[in-house]
């Protein structure tokens, strides 16, 4: 079952460099899903802090994605590498409270993926749901 049919709320942090028309490109999916999918454009994925990721769960996310540029292609050279380490740290933190680390996923864009944040999001949402509704939200 895909993530939306499974009732998951998805939060997507992403590097704005990936899609200059990000604002327009994500509207259709936002219109369709309303607050169930939330987008947070970052000037660079390296801007993410573990606290952002934790707050996403606190505010009701079940699955959090961080979409970064391909490794080696960061506009600020090492932003996406740092993002990776921060994601790993945040995973450790949520595991401590009993949430699966897999609820946070770093996705490095590949050439095969569309340069359109709406389309990328669509692909992500269509994935099989690996987790169920977060205990933070359901309790």
């Amino acid at each position: 079952m895909d993530q939306i049919s499974a009732g998951l709320n998805i939060t997507i942090f992403f590097c704005r460099q990936l899609d200059i028309n990000q604002d327009k490109n994500r509207r259709a999916i936002e219109k369709e899903l309303g607050p169930r999918v939330r987008f947070f454009p970052l000037p660079c994925s390296g801007r993410i802090e573990p606290l952002h990721l934790l707050r996403a769960f606190e505010s009701g996310a079940d699955m959090v994605y961080l979409i970064a540029c391909p490794e080696g292609a960061c506009r600020y050279r090492e932003g996406n590498l740092r993002a990776k380490k921060r994601v790993q740290y945040a995973q450790k933190l949520i595991e401590e409270i009993g949430l699966e680390g897999a609820r946070i996923e770093l996705i490095n864009k590949t050439a095969a993926m569309p340069a359109n944040i709406g389309a990328i999001a669509k692909e992500l949402l269509a994935r099989d749901a690996k987790v169920s509704t977060s205990a933070v939200r359901s309790k």
Binding site: L51, L54, R55, E58, L93, E96, I97, L99, V136
Partner: protein, 224 residues
């Protein structure tokens, strides 16, 4: 600076179990520098505690505050107004901070969130290494600025033990042998004569003292 590491969440939770309203207090000095007790870590811990409670179906309030220094009363005073509204203070200060806060607010339980670890330096970002044990009797002048009390696993004052190989300590091969460093540095500074001297047993009373050690500076104290 004083370094610390966050305790496992389970341990913190166990100490907080009887309380509902928690004031999570960070310290903006040493523990902020070593990324264990600053504003960000306060945010992370408070967020984790709130979510954890929610998962377990408990309701808690975790309010975040970070003061410049938890070991100085002037800064602790900034908590005074808020403290009354909480059942417990969760301190992300070092041991000194926790005790100072507890001293100022004797009616509110204070719980430590960190394990105070050592006095050390930032070796590189994300790496902190102990380099002082506060022995109260500094002999760095004889040891080329390398503390054998702290950095030699056996605290040897008179040269390396037989376990040093390729500059590494036998106890922790990731650490350089302190005596290797001392010998090399004294050599390059032209002071290998210092290596020949036999240093007498240390005066540990300066470290252990009689109860807590004190520093008194009359010129800095008020008259009253």
């Amino acid at each position: 600076m004083i370094t610390a590491e966050r305790k496992p969440l389970a341990e913190i939770k166990a100490m907080l179990a009887p309380y509902r309203k928690i004031l999570v207090v960070g310290c903006g000095t040493c523990v902020a520098e070593c990324a264990s007790g600053g504003e960000k870590e306060v945010g992370l811990l408070a967020s984790a505690l709130r979510m954890d409670a929610q998962i377990e179906g408990r309701t808690i309030e975790a309010h975040e505050m970070t003061i410049d220094r938890q070991c100085v009363y002037e800064f602790i005073d900034k908590l005074t107004e808020a403290v009354g509204r909480y059942d417990v203070i969760l301190s992300l200060g070092c041991g000194a901070g926790v005790q100072a806060v507890a001293e100022v607010f004797p009616k509110t339980p204070v719980v430590p969130a960190l394990n105070t670890t050592f006095i050390g330096e930032t070796k590189e970002s994300g790496l902190w290494v102990e380099n002082c044990r506060a022995c109260g009797d500094c002999k760095l002048g004889y040891f080329a600025g390398v503390c054998p009390v702290t950095r030699c696993a056996k605290g040897l004052f008179n040269g390396p033990c037989g376990g040093s190989k390729n500059g590494a300590c036998e106890v922790d091969p990731d650490s350089p042998c302190a005596w290797q460093l001392i010998v090399e540095r004294l050599d390059s500074a032209g002071r290998s004569d210092l290596l020949e001297a036999i240093y007498p047993p240390a005066d540990w009373s300066k470290q252990q003292g009689k109860g807590p050690r004190k520093i008194v500076r009359e010129d800095q104290r008020s008259e009253s």
